[in-house]
């Protein structure tokens, strides 16, 4: 018996690679179809149900009635926003988990979302003159501080999932206490801030899309560059280093990218929990760990998830809006619990 792989096994490997790339294509196509269906379906439903011919007329700019206004000013930008934000959050989670080599690393569990919210709330309450376009920058500072603190403290002891979860939830708790203090100080204007804090896309339009766009696009482009280094980082610092990777540079770039991706979302939609934690795991379980494939698939899944959640949020109790945070918690919470259950088996 020879120790070299035989021709038969080599061709078997080829076949597997072939089916896996077929599988990826199939999944992406299926995902795009679902996303498209959701987006088009979403145009017809909402506070005011809109019949098909009216929607078509409005889309083709053949009418200028209130239906057209609803579509062009409310539903279309909101759907685009949901897709972009969902993709950004999911990629943020993938990158953060890759950089920290930790299944619980995510924008929510590291305190990045709460930290960014804290910074934005402080400016909102104490310096109301700051324009919304600057909110992502403020959020970036807060997110960096919060995420950096929890990652640093957790890494002092080897960055185990428990330590990271404990440090992250403590940092988040701290920021939440800060938010409370600021809100108590603000007094009666609390309600609008509070609604923003539970996360949601109600009443967001083109203006918000222009705020999110540069952050999300920058982050998603950075992901394309990060795919390869993230694969290598998964081998461990020393192995990656001997393979010629500048570990600390790429780790820093990755963390920064993850935070940039999530603070744009926080600025326009508030902290939306669970997506950044759960979507990467789902994506990984269907497509594997190669980041070149994982990142786009996660982005697609994130877009689908947030679009679906947002459509439900605005239609389930119409004309009232449900907060997206409840919907993501109802689905994401059990998922997280299941993950803990399985991992600690």
């Amino acid at each position: 018996m020879t120790s070299l792989p035989s021709a038969a096994s080599a061709s078997r490997i080829d076949a597997r690679r072939c089916t896996s790339s077929l599988r990826v294509t199939g999944l992406v196509v299926a995902g795009l179809v679902v996303l498209g269906t959701l987006a088009i379906g979403g145009l017809f439903v909402g506070g005011v149900a809109t019949p098909v011919p009216v929607v078509i007329d409005a889309l083709l700019s053949r009418s200028a009635g209130p239906e057209a206004a609803i579509l062009w000013k409310l539903r279309i930008p909101r759907e685009l926003l949901a897709m972009l934000a969902g993709a950004a959050l999911a990629c943020s989670g993938v990158v953060m988990q890759g950089v920290a080599r930790n299944p619980l690393a995510s924008p929510d569990l590291t305190g990045v979302l709460t930290g960014a919210s804290f910074a934005i709330v402080v400016f909102y309450v104490f310096v109301p003159s700051v324009p919304a376009i600057a909110h992502p920058f403020i959020g970036l500072a807060g997110g960096l501080l919060a995420g950096g603190t929890s990652l640093l403290i957790a890494s002092a002891g080897g960055l185990s999932p428990v330590r990271l979860a404990l440090a992250g939830s403590a940092v988040a708790f701290f920021c939440a206490a800060g938010i409370t203090t600021a809100l108590v100080h603000a007094g009666p204007t609390v309600a609008s801030v509070f609604f923003w804090l539970t996360g949601g896309l109600a009443g967001r339009g083109w203006h918000h899309l222009t705020i999110l766009m540069p952050w999300a696009i920058t982050g998603l482009c950075a992901c394309a560059v990060l795919a390869r280094p993230l694969d290598l980082l998964a081998l461990g610092d020393e192995a990656a280093g001997t393979l010629g990777l500048n570990v600390s540079f790429w780790r820093l770039t990755g963390a920064l990218t993850a935070i940039v991706l999530s603070v744009g979302v926080v600025a326009v939609a508030g902290p939306i929990g669970f997506l950044g934690l759960c979507i990467p795991h789902i994506a990984r379980s269907v497509i594997g760990v190669r980041h070149q494939v994982l990142l786009p698939v996660a982005a697609l899944l994130g877009a689908i998830a947030l679009l679906a959640a947002d459509t439900l949020a605005r239609t389930m109790a119409a004309p009232r809006e449900l907060p997206i945070g409840v919907l993501t918690a109802i689905v994401g919470g059990p998922f997280l619990i299941h993950m803990v259950w399985r991992r600690t088996a």
Partner: protein, 337 residues
């Protein structure tokens, strides 16, 4: 490691508690002179006696009770899970209690039994039970998820965090979905506040305190033995599963009833046990009473700071304890390797 003797330490902590409680009673938005205040307090003299007796004193008393509840709860959990980084928040108990109270308040408002514009007009008596129910559900879920032929501390903590953030997100969501008019009052409860608490609140809390303190002596010796590992404790005649379960149950009862009255107060239960163990060593017969005293002291102090930091607005005591407690906790976490 230098350790302090128990009785002097307890006496000093107790004196500090009394001093700060007195200070908190006398200090406030309508300031009284020391002389005037003491007269009003002890002789019932002057117009201010009413303010002191009906508004400030119950508030201080509730703060003390809540501090005792949370400190003992945290200490029990840390012993039972053999993990010094555990507390009612980490194990999801506070999240469960909060969600239950949210749902309960929502239902009472929905049925129109109260106008809901003031927290004081909500039905009060069922609150500890409602919160207890929520806390127990969360704790049992945590326990169940962590259970796999026995419970290990690591799984408990992970499961607790998962349960906690899920319940908290649901609670906040319900709250946000519900409209804006009562937001401020509930927000104050959510952040853990002693504002506008009266004697009736204290009376609803006291039975739980007494019941908890009566059960403790039975558990202390066995809980101590848990610290040397499950197998070693079991061969010394301790029913490890039973004692761990009952300690977590008692901790849940204490934490939930406190959350019902003042909302989730973070990090009191997490950091006071550490301080107590440092001062007098880890034997529970000594460290638990010190823990309780320190917890009462921390909440009293936090409330006092919250009231004098930026008047006339009040920072909720929960925010103050979190702002103090989180850095301490992160320091502990960073030092442990």
């Amino acid at each position: 490691m230098n350790r302090l003797p128990f009785w002097p330490t307890a006496a000093i902590t107790f004196c500090a508690l009394v001093a700060f409680a007195l200070l908190a009673t006398l200090n406030g938005a309508a300031d009284l002179g020391l002389r005037q205040g003491l007269d009003a307090l002890f002789l019932g003299a002057g117009d201010n006696a009413g303010i002191l007796w009906d508004i400030r004193l119950p508030r201080v008393a509730i703060g003390i009770l809540v501090g005792i509840h949370l400190a003992i709860s945290g200490h029990l959990l840390q012993s039972a899970t053999r993990n010094p980084l555990t507390d009612p928040n980490v194990l999801g108990i506070a999240g469960g209690a909060m969600l239950a109270v949210m749902i309960f308040l929502l239902i009472t408002v929905y049925w129109g039994q109260t106008d809901g514009s003031k927290l004081t007009s909500y039905p009060l008596a069922p609150l500890p039970f409602v919160a207890l129910f929520g806390g127990l559900v969360a704790a049992s879920l945590t326990y169940l998820i962590a259970w796999r032929a026995g419970v290990t501390p690591l799984r408990l903590v992970l499961a607790g965090i998962a349960i906690g953030i899920t319940f908290q997100a649901l609670g906040l969501g319900i709250f946000a979905a519900w409209g804006s008019t009562r937001m401020e009052t509930v927000l104050l409860w959510l952040s853990g506040s002693l504002y506008a608490r009266g004697w009736e609140h204290a009376l609803h809390l006291l039975p739980w305190t007494i019941a908890g303190l009566l059960v403790l002596p039975v558990m202390v010796a066995k809980l101590d033995l848990l610290s040397i590992g499950d197998d070693a404790a079991a061969t010394l005649g301790v029913n490890v599963g039973a004692i761990r379960f009952s300690a977590i149950a008692l901790a849940t009862v204490l934490a939930s009833s406190a959350v019902a009255i003042v909302g989730p107060l973070g990090f009191v239960g997490l950091i006071t046990p550490h301080a107590a163990r440092r001062l007098v060593g880890s034997a529970l017969a000594k460290s638990l009473p010190i823990s309780a005293l320190l917890g009462a002291l921390l909440v009293t102090l936090g409330d006092l700071i919250g009231r004098i930091a930026m008047p006339p607005a009040e920072i909720p005591v929960g925010a103050v304890t979190a702002l103090i407690g989180v850095p301490v906790f992160l320091m502990l976490l960073g030092r442990r390797t």
